[in-house]
Amino acid sequence: MKPKNQRLVLVVAAIAAVLLAVLLAMWGLRERAAYFLTPADIAAGKAEQGRAVRLGGMVEQGSVQPQSDGVTIRFVVTDGHARTPVVYRGIVPDLFREGSGAVAEGRVEGRTFIADTILAKHDERYMPPELGNLAAEHKAGKTLER
């Protein structure tokens, strides 16, 4: 192959690779990004049944109920407008408390949210991105408890 053609082939290959990556990523993001929903969104029927989503809000005071098997809990997440019951099987993270914010990963089945994971802090000042806003609103005095 002539050097000139070789360079052309390489450039074309690089562009094709980048295009492929972008197309793959767009497809993957459309299919697999988990939308962040609030209880109000779920009440409004925005959640597709069974699809992976994140639920964020405040854990309602007095709502945490350990179940008889000892490792499952039920609680209610609220955003001040609506309430979503959540079921979670596992050890809750260290910072999980009634009256404070939480983000759960899982899916909606019926009217209940089945959580696979409850997110906790990761490093010094890290909060699940979606909670930043809620926490700020909370501080600003727009309390979410009714």
């Binding site: 070789q6 980048v18 993001l29 988990a34 596992g90 260290d94 010094e124 979606e130």
Partner: protein
């Protein structure tokens, strides 16, 4: 006083960096001889930042609470080691560490680089000074680590207990050496583009830096993964968290660069591509720094509320990346075409390696930034996690792993002999692994199954390059390549085994009760309180056995008072064939305790593989520099005889 010395040293270093930049610009435009001056300035600048960093360590070691940063992040009751390590467990301190490594790298470049042409080195030192000037400005204007508090408070706020761990002492500095080591590759690429000297000599000058940075990145990511694994108590080793991706992206780019630089060094081909990768690799370091340090991950809104730091970093990022790309666009036409190669050749193999790594990098990059982008544009909130990354990057990584076994067997320029003959044994091993997983473990997922088969293939294929010659005569760099590629197979096997064969048990247990996990029978003996220097804890005494003798495990939940937090301390036991991982949860009203147990077969191979990959890099680095020195001695001798 100590803080003031540190601040003064930082200002002086910033001034010197600006001077260094001006001198190089002047020297590149007019024929004035300032090379020695520039080198001296770079070295002094490095020494001054090192002094500033030492001053920061001192105020932390002495818990000088009149320094705002110490007050916010330290506490007098903290163990000494964490007082010192706490110096870089916060924004300002870690940015100072970043800049210290940056200017130290510049100083080393000025002192030890003899491979590069004088003008290219000068231009590279100018680029390094341009980088440093911007980041000094960022530190001094937006993140002064030495700001004082008056009056001094009587006690500090403490360090997040998650960070109170030996991992903190090593993980961030290791990663930073990697991140910032890539800045030298960036500067040398900019220098070579400016002077038009993009050739195999420039590649050979860049290579030790890229290798060194890559080794640090590899070890930093491996250590960080293990840290998250045992400290978070979730049993996972990689979460596709944006902070993790921030370190993975420079690693992917550096891995691609590491391979293409060999093509440029050995064959003089892939010139523009290699320069581009050098620019991208350090850009990814800066993107990573921006993601972690701007607060944008917490929330786009938090970023908008306190925009100074984020905007500053973003401006620096755009300035440097934009300038480098502009330079690239202007100069790439002037590059001579590289040496030609045939379709089936080592060069083509490395091009495919580069393309696959670039595609994976783009997928990780888009997945990491898309949520930020979506929220900023449409206000829609979403998260991109493991389902996206695993299903897109996973198959591509596996394809790459197969090709890793083939590529090193090809010869440069043109492959005459068919290589498939050599691959019979590895292919049989891979097929054997595939068949045996289908028979022995019919229910595991597709990706783990493929990964196990490919790991078996690659483990055998990766050592083939060592069989070409007498192993003692094989160059150390070839040994390094084989070890690193073998490490990929080991890590892949660990990942697949963990995904396929982990057994998990979550249950409530009262003292005296037993439960099974994998081959283990675990008994909860008792739960007792425990105490440490600045924490109290609930500790479970577990007794685990499988057939033979019993072992004891003591997982804890620790309660810290400054700041008030609790953390899980998992108790982990390592065996040759896996790890037993135990976590204690909350108390149950009936008098039992939540226990979470995992038996993770061969999970340690993940980090062992990571270590081998780093070791392979180290062998290659030693081999390259040592061989070069020997060659230089031969040259000298020849000159002496001539």
């Amino acid at each position: 006083m100590i803080a003031e010395i540190g601040l003064a040293a930082l200002w002086l270093a910033a001034g010197l960096a600006a001077l260094q930049l001006l001198l190089t610009v002047a020297a590149l435009r007019a024929p004035i001889d300032v090379a020695r001056t520039v080198r001296a300035v770079a070295v002094v600048q490095g020494a001054l930042t090192a002094l500033a960093f030492a001053m920061l360590l001192t105020v932390f070691a002495r818990t000088d609470l009149s320094v705002a940063l110490v007050f916010e992040n330290s506490h007098s009751a903290k163990p000494f080691m964490y007082k010192v390590a706490g110096a870089w467990g916060n924004h300002e301190g870690s940015m100072l560490l970043w800049v210290t490594v940056l200017s130290a790298a510049g100083a080393f470049l000025a002192m030890f680089s003899r491979r590069t042409g004088e003008r290219t080195l000068l231009a590279a030192l100018g680029a390094q000074a341009a980088l440093a000037t911007g980041f000094y400005a960022f530190l001094l204007i937006a993140s002064n680590p030495f700001a004082r508090l008056s009056p001094a408070p009587i006690e500090g706020r403490g360090l997040n207990p998650l960070l109170q761990d030996p991992g903190l002492a090593f993980h961030p500095p290791t990663l930073y050496f990697g991140y910032v080591g890539l800045s030298v590759a960036f500067s040398l690429a900019v220098g070579a583009l400016l002077t038009g000297a993009v050739d195999s000599r420039a590649a050979r000058a860049m290579r030790p830096w890229v290798l060194g940075a890559w080794i640090f990145l590899t070890l930093g990511i491996t250590a960080g993964s293990y840290w998250a694994y045992y400290e978070l108590g979730w049993g996972g080793w990689w979460f596709w968290d944006p902070v993790e991706n921030a370190s993975l992206m420079p690693w992917l780019a550096a891995t691609a660069l590491l391979h293409s630089i060999n093509v440029l060094a050995a064959r003089g081909a892939l010139k523009a591509w290699t320069m581009m990768l050098a620019v991208i690799a350090f850009s990814m370091s800066m993107v990573g720094t921006f993601l972690v340090r701007s607060g944008i991950l917490t929330s786009v809104h938090a970023f908008a509320v306190d925009p100074q730091r984020g905007t500053f970093l973003l401006a620096l990022l755009f300035l440097y990346v934009g300038a480098a790309f502009l330079l690239f666009a202007l100069r790439t036409k002037t590059l001579k075409e590289g040496a030609p190669f045939e379709l089936v050749s080592r060069e083509t193999g490395l091009v495919i390696n580069n393309l696959l790594l670039s595609v994976i990098l783009a997928i990780v990059f888009l997945g990491t930034l898309y949520p930020l982008f979506a929220e900023a544009v449409s206000g829609e909130k979403l998260s991109v996690g493991a389902p996206y990354f695993n299903s897109l990057a996973g198959p591509l990584a596996l394809l790459l792993a197969v090709l890793v076994g083939v590529g090193p067997l090809l010869s440069w320029r043109r492959e005459r002999r068919p290589v498939f003959g050599k691959l019979v044994v590895p292919a049989l091993l891979g097929a054997g692994a595939l068949v045996s997983t289908i028979i022995l473990a019919p229910h595991i997922g597709l990706l783990p199954r493929a990964a196990l088969a490919i790991a078996a293939f690659l483990a055998a294929a990766s050592i083939l390059p060592l069989t070409v010659r007498n192993p003692f005569r094989t160059p150390l760099a070839t040994w390094g390549m084989a070890v690193a590629h073998f490490g990929i197979a080991v890590a892949l096997a660990g990942m697949a085994a963990n995904a396929a064969f982990t057994s998990e048990r979550l249950a409530i247990a009262r003292p005296g009760e037993r439960m099974n996990v994998g081959p283990w029978l675990v008994q909860l003996d008792s739960v007792t309180p425990a105490a440490g220097p600045n924490w109290t804890a609930i500790e479970a005494q577990l007794n685990a056995s499988r057939g033979g003798g019993a072992i004891k495990l003591e997982p804890q939940t620790r309660y810290f008072s400054d700041p008030p937090t609790e953390t899980n301390e998992a108790a982990i036991r390592t065996f040759w064939n896996g790890q037993l991982y135990t976590v204690i949860g909350r108390a149950d009203p009936s008098g039992g305790w939540q226990l979470r147990l995992w038996w993770k077969p061969f999970v340690t191979l993940i980090w062992l593989g990571g270590g081998l990959i780093g070791l392979g890099g180290l062998l290659a680095l030693v081999g390259r520099t040592w061989r070069r020195r020997r060659r230089r001695e031969v040259d000298w001798r020849r000159e002496a005889y001539a």
